[in-house]
Symmetry: C2
Subunit: 241 residues, 2 copies
């Protein structure tokens, strides 16, 4: 890796230092859902810069690991969360976005099935907390922008792909599903029509189970059938709410 200069002769100033002078980090917007509220997991920084500020789940990346693995590792190191939905959206590269130097960050977003447990395993963070997306604190770095873009991505994604189920327990009622969509998209749906539409897709498996401990008629529980979705998708079906 000595004379990378020769690989790109049209740029005049590609010394080795220039070629190698980027830091790379990953910032992950972790979304959760509980009691009708869409939430984001943030950590409180216990170190400078932005000590005491809230921030996204993020860290620098080691050059020895590829991007997708790095994202999983960051998430698992800082929260203990593994094997959950994790997808790249946008890369942020303003010159001054990190006070320590030029750091590019790749934005990921993640969807968690339950916000009940405290997901922090071990980290340099003082604490972690779920925040309602409509009531966020000030964030470190440019994390406000990143979170905003991530939320946009979620809103778009949830309409055309069956990713909403990643935020619900495996077994859920149709009303829970509808409430989730209403919370994310900020609108309301007609209950009978929502049922017809979602059941008509033939993607939900009705279970022989109902809610319990509710002071009204208990609702049937359903489960998302991923195999079925993949099969339908191959035939040209497109999920659309």
């Amino acid at each position: 890796m000595d004379n990378t200069e020769t690989y790109y002769t049209n740029q005049t100033s590609h010394s080795i230092q220039n070629l190698l002078s980027f830091g790379l980090s990953i910032d992950c917007v972790v979304f959760g859902y509980h009691n009708g509220e869409v939430k984001v997991l943030l950590i409180e920084r216990d170190i400078e810069p932005f000590k005491g500020s809230w921030a996204l789940i993020g860290d620098l990346v080691s050059p020895s690991v590829d991007l997708a693995s790095a994202a999983s590792e960051v998430l698992s190191n800082l929260t203990g969360l593994k094997n959950i939905f994790l997808e790249q959206f946008t890369t942020f590269g303003s010159i001054d976005r990190h006070p320590a130097g030029r750091v590019i960050t790749v934005g990921y977003y993640s969807l968690v099935k339950s916000t009940a447990q405290k997901p922090l395993a071990s980290s340099w963070a003082k604490s972690s907390k779920w925040f309602n997306i409509n009531n966020l604190p000030n964030l470190a770095f440019d994390h406000q922008d990143i979170l905003g873009k991530g939320l946009e991505t979620l809103k778009r994604g949830v309409r055309y792909r069956p990713v909403g189920f990643e935020l619900l327990p495996h077994k859920f009622t149709l009303l829970q599903l509808q409430d989730l969509y209403e919370a994310i998209l900020g609108c309301t749906f007609d209950k009978p029509n929502f049922r017809k539409k979602i059941l008509g897709m033939d993607l939900l498996v009705p279970l022989n189970e109902v809610e319990s401990n509710v002071s009204h008629r208990p609702a049937k529980l359903f489960q998302f059938d991923r195999e079925r979705y993949l099969h339908l998708q191959e035939e040209g079906f497109v999920f659309d709410i």
Copy 2:
């Protein structure tokens, strides 16, 4: 930028070298359209590695310029193209994607109004050429993947946002527009219905001009009204073909 170590104490091996050992590049999938064919602009590499191979419009990025500016510069340096549609899609970060070391690349795609002119201004490339997207040569690096992802992004984008117009001349006929959509999406549309739908959106301004030199009834020319689109968008209108 001496002791970045202290900023991220949960990672054990963040020496300065590790923090700073990423190369950053931009690869841009430049799309064009001509005579019913969707095309991609490629350059023939005149230097190692992959000398003689075709590659996307791409180059290393200097740490002193931000990501969006870098993308414009790469495009303009290698093709002379300026002020055209340019948008980020995905970032690629496999460990071994560049033989010279760890280089992350941010994928952009660009839409060009005419593939008629030879867009190469000056570069380290032997030549440049427009290739039909259905008849591509072998590509350098992981550019096959990047191009594929870029094409996916274009297909999705063209359906829900009025970006198709970026590939047509300012004045165009409805059939040209329809042919463009059919070429990109790989399907056919019913002519009367396509007209009704697109005109019903109220986004096209009919000009007092017609085609010339055609051996049939000349078609009216239209123009895309961007102001109108932005206005409608604010009212909640979503472009959809």
